[in-house]
């Protein structure tokens, strides 16, 4: 059963430049909520953005991962993300 951390790493590894926050919101290891920000989402519809994330997990969605609730956002520019991180 995947952990929230494993799901985060897999999303970030599969979608170039993606930054993900993942929480296991029932604590049961099968209901996850993820917020993903990626430059790759720019110019894509919400449906297409969510599909990019679902595609990382294929048949695991609906199987071991019962639910993966998504919020996606196109990253404005690489510079914004880094300067934001530097300010923290």
């Amino acid at each position: 059963m995947p952990s929230a951390e494993e799901i985060r790493q897999r999303i970030e590894a599969a979608i170039p430049g993606a930054r993900a926050e993942v929480e296991d919101y029932t604590g049961g290891g099968d209901h996850f909520r993820a917020t993903v920000v990626a430059a790759a989402f720019a110019g894509r519809s919400r449906i297409e953005q969510h599909k990019l994330v679902y595609d990382v997990f294929g048949a695991e969605i609906g199987g071991p991962i019962h639910a993966l609730s998504l919020k996606t956002e196109a990253a404005q520019a690489q510079a914004d993300a880094t300067s934001g991180a530097a300010n923290v």
Partner: protein
Amino acid sequence: MSENQTNPIREAISEAISEHETILFMKGTPEAPACGFSARTVAMLQSLQAPFAAVDILPDPRIRQELSAISNWPTIPQLFHKGELIGGCDIVTEMYESGELAEALELEARDAEAIEPEPIVTHSNGFTPIQNRLS
């Protein structure tokens, strides 16, 4: 989709999607949703007084398999309008909160024309033709 082998469930789902302007594939029925995501999606549609047909995917696992093959979307619920996938619970929620959902379902235009609200169509309409082909 001109396969030689006929796939009655897939055909029934495709027909249901094209025959109903707005159709929701869900777990359970609007009256008795069997999953929180389906329940939330129904509640948002009802709060907009959107007329929609609903199909319960639970009675046969093949309904979900074929639906996901058609839509290329892995999760349930799935909301379609005029044959196009609008999204699942997350996208419908975002669109509901931003006001885009009413726009996407063309509810404002309908109100402007002062058409009487249609009754909400439940599973009997969308589901029966699919169920009939399961045996």
